[in-house]
């Protein structure tokens, strides 16, 4: 056997190469071969230079990769295979933000309520087949080492990493995906309705997964579905990589005989096998293996909740250190968000953005030194925190027709004093802007953000006069053209921001242009019901978030039947969904936007950007929604010794923030 000692320098160069190849392979997705797979095979044969004296643990000395001391001990004790065998042949290489980290330490966080530590399933383990890159400009390979799309975007070939493992050491292969497809997705007890991301964009039939070999699978659709790549990188599809077949088959009737399964179900206190299955495939079941960086080992009702490092995690840093750096994550469970903020101020949280409120920013700054933390401001992907949703399918035809008049919408928009709202309601955080994507988005255009966003009561009055709303009542409010009173009630459930103040200021500034608006605060559930019905809500308020790469669910870019967000074009959307059989035919510009969205769903990766740009421009020009204040920060608390957290990042659900910042390379400086 050949001796495999090697220097730090050589391995680092190789890994830089390797990472370059890996990302190149992701970019050249259409290219058939996977050159990256060959690189690591060459690595052990590299000539030996000066061995790094005494730096690596004995077990790691003969190894291509390095590992955490706690794992090296287990390897020495024989309770764990060596790191080279645990990692796939071609691990994913993660660049570090600041420096190569130190192993060890616990990441202290706070969860609000027992289920909240469930962020381990998504935001803290963004382990999808593909994922968004750090800045949201594109989709890259993650679990897969490479992927291909055929020319008409109907077949998506995924090349899994050979030698990848579940956290219990079992191989992670195509069979796990086949199990999800055949036995979970197509089982009507487990999946009563097919998720929309897996449906064909035209026929709405479910897609198909085919196993090509142990490490290759094909996703197939009847029609072009270029947007599927973004679906695979998004949160909805993340769970398909969390179905360990070898573990879950013991709770599935296709693999386990009826009597045994009935016994297991009854023992666990359930009536049906799928309830047992649901409980077993759950982050709150510490027995279930995962592929995440940390796997839950202590779950509610035990607190604190703990997740510990996965010795088989498939990612390494640029110097070949197996990730994650941190040994474990610990969540203290508190009753409400205020307590979480207090703990942050006291310096009891290592790094957290969730539940940290920008309203407390001054408090955080004040206690920064004492609490030994720094305060970070990531960008929230909110195009507008408080977005006005006019109802284009209102049962009140007078109001409906006014909303459908673009000049009326423009007048309402320029009649809002946005800088005042930003200054007073948002305490100077955020800026007044129109409803469009955020400035970090690849589809951002400044003209879209400032369109009709300048406070100009004179222009508003002129426009309103122009559409015939010239008569006023004795209080100075405009009457409808037929002489009846005009009044718009703005409904909201104050959930995501200082909406009570913002709506009050909107109604105040509309008074100047003679528009009577009445704030109407209601309970969230009621709001959601009224929003779904979409008949009698004049104008609703909801958040316009997910605005970095919002193509998957672009509900704030055309009139739509919602709930939360409230419906703006319920009947129009019904018409579109039923291909004209139900609802009401929308005007041309809306039909065009719906048609454009159909094109986007099918578009090949090359054709997508231009279509998407057109889509967002259209939305902005039509002003279907009126934006107020956006560009708010996502404030986070990070301890001074907690490193590799980027200063700038976008916080978004589609990007699974902080998952998109590679939490596995966060570390704690011990000294």
């Amino acid at each position: 056997m050949r001796m495999k000692t090697q220097s730090e320098r050589v391995s680092r160069r190789q890994f830089l190469q390797l990472s370059a190849v890996a990302s190149a392979s992701a970019l050249l997705a259409a290219c058939g071969s996977s050159p990256a797979a060959e690189a690591p095979a060459a690595a052990p044969a590299a000539p030996t230079a000066v061995p790094a004296a005494g730096e690596a643990a004995p077990a790691a000395a003969a190894s291509q990769y390095k590992e955490a001391p706690m794992l090296a001990e287990m390897v020495n004790a024989g309770s764990l295979p060596p790191v080279d065998e645990r990692l796939p042949q071609n691990p994913r290489v993660i660049p570090v933000v600041e420096e190569i980290g130190e192993y060890g330490g616990t990441w202290y966080r706070v969860a609000v309520g027992p289920g909240d530590a469930g962020t381990i399933t998504n935001r803290l383990s963004y382990e999808n087949l593909l994922r968004w890159n750090e800045d949201g400009s594109g989709v890259v390979a993650n679990i897969v080492e490479s992927y291909e799309v055929n020319d008409d975007a109907t077949v998506f070939t995924m090349h899994l990493r050979q030698g990848m493992h579940w956290s219990d050491g079992e191989p992670f292969t195509a069979d796990d995906y086949m199990f999800w497809h055949d036995d979970v997705l197509l089982n009507t007890d487990l999946t009563p309705s097919i998720p929309s991301w897996f449906k064909d964009p035209v026929t709405a039939n479910p897609g198909v997964i085919e196993k090509v070999d142990d490490f290759t699978i094909n996703f197939k659709f009847e029609n072009s579905y270029g947007l599927f790549l973004q679906m695979l990188a998004g949160p909805s599809s993340s769970s398909i990589s969390d179905y360990p077949k070898h573990y879950l088959t013991q709770f599935h009737p296709s693999y386990t005989d009826e009597a045994t399964l009935a016994q297991l179900t009854a023992d666990a206190g359930f009536d049906e096998w799928f309830q047992l299955f649901g409980q077993k495939r759950n982050w709150q079941n510490p027995e279930q293996p995962h592929i995440w960086a940390w796997v839950p080992t202590r779950v509610p009702p035990d607190v604190p909740v703990v997740a510990e490092r996965n010795p088989y995690f498939y990612k390494v840093d640029t110097e070949g250190n197996q990730l994650p750096y941190l040994d474990s994550i610990t969540w203290d469970v508190v009753e409400n968000a205020d307590l979480a903020n207090l703990k942050a101020v006291a310096g009891e949280i290592d790094c957290q953005f969730r539940h940290i409120l920008w309203q407390n920013y001054p408090l955080f700054i004040e206690n920064m030194e004492q609490g030994e933390y720094r305060v970070m401001r990531w960008a929230l992907a909110e195009g507008s925190n408080c977005l006005l949703h006019p109802n284009y399918n209102h049962t009140d035809e007078g109001l409906r027709d006014l909303f459908r008049t673009k000049d009326f919408r423009i007048a309402l928009s320029v009649g809002i004093n946005r800088s005042q709202i930003a200054e007073l309601a948002y305490q100077g955080f955020g800026t007044g802007r129109q409803a469009t994507v955020i400035k970090e988005s690849p589809y951002y255009k400044e003209e879209n953000a400032i369109r009709y966003a300048e406070f100009d009561p004179a222009q508003a009055n002129q426009l309103l006069d122009g559409i015939g709303l010239t008569e006023k009542d004795n209080e100075g409010y405009r009457l409808r053209a037929d002489g009846t009173p005009l009044s718009i009630s703005i409904e909201y459930a104050p959930i995501f921001g200082p909406w009570r103040d913002a709506v009050q200021m909107i109604t105040d500034s509309w008074k100047e242009i003679g528009i009577r608006a009445i704030p109407k605060e209601e309970d969230r559930t009621l709001f959601s019901q009224r929003g779904t019905a979409g008949e009698e809500m004049d104008m609703g308020i909801w958040i316009m978030d997910r605005c970095l790469t919002p193509l998957i669910e672009p509900w704030s870019f055309f009139p739509y039947r919602g709930g939360t967000p409230p419906s703006t074009g319920g009947l129009w959307w019904d018409w579109y969904q039923s291909q004209g059989a139900q609802g009401e035919e929308p005007p041309t510009e809306v039909q065009d936007q719906y048609a454009l969205y159909d094109q986007i769903r099918g578009a090949s990766p090359d054709a997508l950007p231009a279509l998407a740009q057109q889509f967002f421009d259209n939305a902005s020009e039509n002003l279907w929604f009126i934006g107020t204040v956006g560009d708010l920060p996502h404030v986070g608390i990070v301890k001074n010794n907690f490193r590799n957290v980027p200063e700038n990042a976008v916080s978004d659900w589609l990007q699974q923030t902080p998952g998109n910042t590679n939490v596995e390379q966060y570390f704690k400086r011990q000294a």
């Binding site: 909240d116 009563p192 709150q284 779950v299 604190p304 009753e335 916080s651 978004d652």
Partner: protein, 328 residues
């Protein structure tokens, strides 16, 4: 007496059935269900669950079924198998959750109840027998302050003072290093270090109230002829007071045992929330707000059972203690 008790126990059965139905229905009255509140909580932090996932959760939890089917399954589970159902929020059987927390809650509530009686009764007796003395005024002033200050407020003040002046973190029942530790002597000592704070806070309110009750009742009794008679016959003053009027004055304590038992479980909720104690109160509160119906329903059923049993006990105790009460 035996017949009386048996009759009362039989009455309890329909009462409990009615309570269990009512509470189960009331929990479900607000619009939406556990999943809508779950989705709303996630959405607060920007997390979104897609429709298909919700659909499968709805099937898994049996939320689509009518209320009476859900109730039937739940109640038959309790009676036939001792199975209280599953908590959706905690992903655990309800029985595992409730019993775990019940112990700690009982310790805090019971000890503070006893502490408050031991302090309140002597002070109340003193205040009544030395009415309008300086000490009576002082005690009266203190007890009014105690009555007027809500427990959670007191908890906040204590938290603030201890944290600021002594740098002590008194939240929770254990220090960081003992939360995960198995039970041993060191952990018990650690718990005792923490438990006095909630105990004292809870006891303050009870004590203040009990002082007033004892004082008022005893004052009523002191002027009654039987006291005069006893005194005229030359009974020693201290023996006289403790043996006759005090016994009568304590009636309210026995007649409220019914509520005390239930408040052992649900009591001190606000204080527990403020001090983040691992007791049943915050769990019940959370179960109600998240519409985790089996957990909330089980709690309420448990509380009702305790109240009903408590009322029975208090009736029996009263009969034993108060010579004026006759069973008919």
């Amino acid at each position: 007496m035996t017949i009386y008790i048996i009759r009362r126990v039989l009455y309890m059965i329909p009462t409990l059935i009615a309570i269990s139905i009512l509470s189960f229905v009331i929990i479900q009255l607000p619009p939406g269900d556990f999943l809508t509140s779950y989705v709303a909580q996630l959405r607060q932090e920007g997390d979104i669950i897609d429709e298909s996932q919700l659909e499968s959760l709805r099937v898994r939890y049996g939320l689509g079924e009518p209320v009476y089917v859900q109730y039937g399954k739940w109640i038959s589970g309790i009676f036939l198998r001792g199975d209280w159902g599953q908590s959706m929020d905690w992903q655990k059987p309800v029985k595992e959750l409730i019993w775990e927390r019940l112990g700690l809650t009982m310790i805090i509530s019971l000890s503070s109840l006893l502490v408050s009686w031991f302090i309140a009764i002597p002070i109340g007796v003193y205040s009544a027998t030395h009415q309008y003395s300086i000490l009576d005024y002082t005690m009266t002033a203190f007890s009014f302050i105690g009555l007027g200050t809500p427990g959670f407020m007191l908890a906040l003040i204590v938290l603030f003072v201890l944290q600021n002046q002594f740098g002590m973190n008194v939240g929770g029942l254990f220090s960081e290093e003992y939360i995960n530790a198995p039970w041993n002597w060191a952990k018990v000592v650690d718990m005792l270090k923490h438990i006095w704070v909630p105990m004292a806070i809870v006891a303050v309110n009870g004590t203040a109230g009990n002082i007033r009750i004892t004082r008022a009742n005893l004052l009523d009794e002191l002027n009654k002829p039987y006291v005069e008679t006893a005194r005229a016959k030359g009974v020693k003053e201290s023996k006289l007071i403790w043996k006759y009027p005090v016994r009568v004055a304590l009636n309210p304590f026995f007649s409220t045992v019914g509520w005390s038992l239930a408040s052992l479980v649900s009591g001190v909720t606000l204080v527990a929330v403020v001090l983040s104690l691992q007791t049943t109160g915050p769990m019940l509160l959370r179960a109600l707000t998240t519409q985790d119906m089996y957990l909330a329903g089980s709690f309420i059923l448990l509380l009702s059972v305790l109240t009903v049993i408590g009322t029975l006990i208090s009736d029996i105790l009263l009969a034993l203690v108060d010579p004026r009460i006759r069973l008919q």
